[in-house]
């Protein structure tokens, strides 16, 4: 649901950029972590609705869903979403759709452990970022 808030943040930050640079925007490349379980179609729909009220009316949104490579800071093990799937399922079960990772993916270390050594201390790349703008 908060895909709308995120789309709004993308529109307003790209709009601000385009006004500062005095450039029209054709395409926005947004990168999101797969961990966030954000719905790409909803993001795009929201973006397309919100942009109509902005100065980047012609911009198109392209979303790249990044797959995680987690790196354990304790034992060095590198693992992916697949390796912790069994740890993530209970979160979906307990919290439902609006679960903490959906809203704040950085919270992953509170819920998952390194499958090899059991440490919560692993590196995450959880940010939502605009990686490029085509003008």
């Amino acid at each position: 649901m908060h895909e709308w808030a995120i789309a709004m943040s993308v529109v307003s930050s790209v709009e601000k950029w385009s006004m500062e640079k005095n450039l029209g925007v054709k395409k926005v490349f947004l990168s999101i972590p797969s961990l966030s379980m954000l719905e790409v179609e909803v993001l795009i729909e929201a973006f397309n609705t919100i942009k109509k009220e902005s100065k980047i009316r012609d911009a198109e949104l392209e979303v790249r869903v990044r797959d995680q490579n987690f790196k354990c800071r304790s034992c060095g093990n590198v693992f992916t979403m697949k390796d912790i799937r069994d740890q993530l399922d209970p979160i979906l079960r307990d919290y439902g759709e609006e679960n903490p990772l959906h809203i704040v993916p950085s919270l992953i270390t509170a819920f998952a452990k390194c499958p090899k050594c059991g440490s919560h201390d692993f590196d995450v790349d959880s940010s939502i970022r605009v990686e490029g703008i085509e003008v």
Binding site: W4, A5, S9, S13, K16, V104, S106
Partner: protein
């Protein structure tokens, strides 16, 4: 480009943001932040944001055990009278939180960016120390700081270092609050930490107003329902706000 950070800035822009801080733990930050917000709340809609990821005392003081609802606009606050309360604790419930340091900023930015903040006055509770909260707050807004200390020499020394940083970073330090200075008794006030001379001196040196708050033993009864509290500490805080 970090759109969530931009959104946090957008949401806080032009608002009065008061951050209750201390380098020292357990000095009354959460209590004071809550009572400031409750005092404001008697006159206008006010937001209370809990940036203490690990402690989330605000939720405990208000007895909130629910989870935040999420709408198109973002994270919806818990409403208590005129107050809108936001906390990471409201996203995870009673699950513990453990985070590598560099993720803390992302979590705080997300809370501030996604909070559906409509209020013009925003009171922020922070954890002890000078960690990521301080940096995040500086990234997203230009808060007025209320610096809390105990009147004890140790506490004042620790807080003084924080004050140096705050002033150097051009943050506005509204007041230094010396909490738990005195206890009123039928025989006159008792000063559990001695007369608050260290904090008084610090205030004079730095040209910052020092406010002295009492110990109120009754406060404890209102843990979990602080909105119901109208005792001495709240009254004294109201007087400070009215000045």
């Amino acid at each position: 480009m970090n759109p969530i950070l931009e959104l946090a800035r957008e949401r806080l822009k032009g608002k009065r943001v008061l951050a209750v801080m201390s380098a020292k733990g357990g000095v009354g930050k959460s209590t004071i932040a809550s009572l400031i917000a409750l005092n404001f709340g008697e006159r206008q809609k006010t937001a209370l944001i809990d940036l203490d990821i690990y402690g989330n005392s605000v939720l405990k003081l208000f007895g909130i055990q629910k989870l935040h609802e999420v709408s198109k606009e973002g994270i919806e606050p818990f409403r208590v009278g005129n107050l809108s309360i936001f906390s990471v604790g409201g996203l995870v419930g009673d699950h513990y939180i453990v985070l590598p340091g560099k993720e803390e900023g992302n979590v705080l930015e997300s809370l501030l960016g996604l909070a559906n903040l409509r209020e013009e006055t925003v009171v922020i509770d922070t954890p002890p120390g000078m960690g990521e909260e301080l940096l995040t707050l500086k990234r997203v807004a230009n808060p007025e700081v209320i610096l809390v200390t105990l009147p004890s020499k140790l506490s004042v020394m620790v807080v003084e270092q924080m004050l140096e940083y705050l002033l150097e970073s051009k943050l506005k330090v509204e007041w230094i609050v010396a909490n738990m200075c005195y206890l009123n008794t039928p025989f006159g006030p008792i000063y559990p930490f001695g007369k608050p001379e260290f904090v008084e001196k610090l205030g004079v040196e730095k040209g910052i107003k020092v406010e002295y708050l009492p110990v109120d033993p009754e406060l404890e009864d209102f843990s979990g329902r602080i909105w119901d509290y109208s005792g001495l500490l709240k009254e004294e805080i109201r007087k400070i706000l009215d000045e």
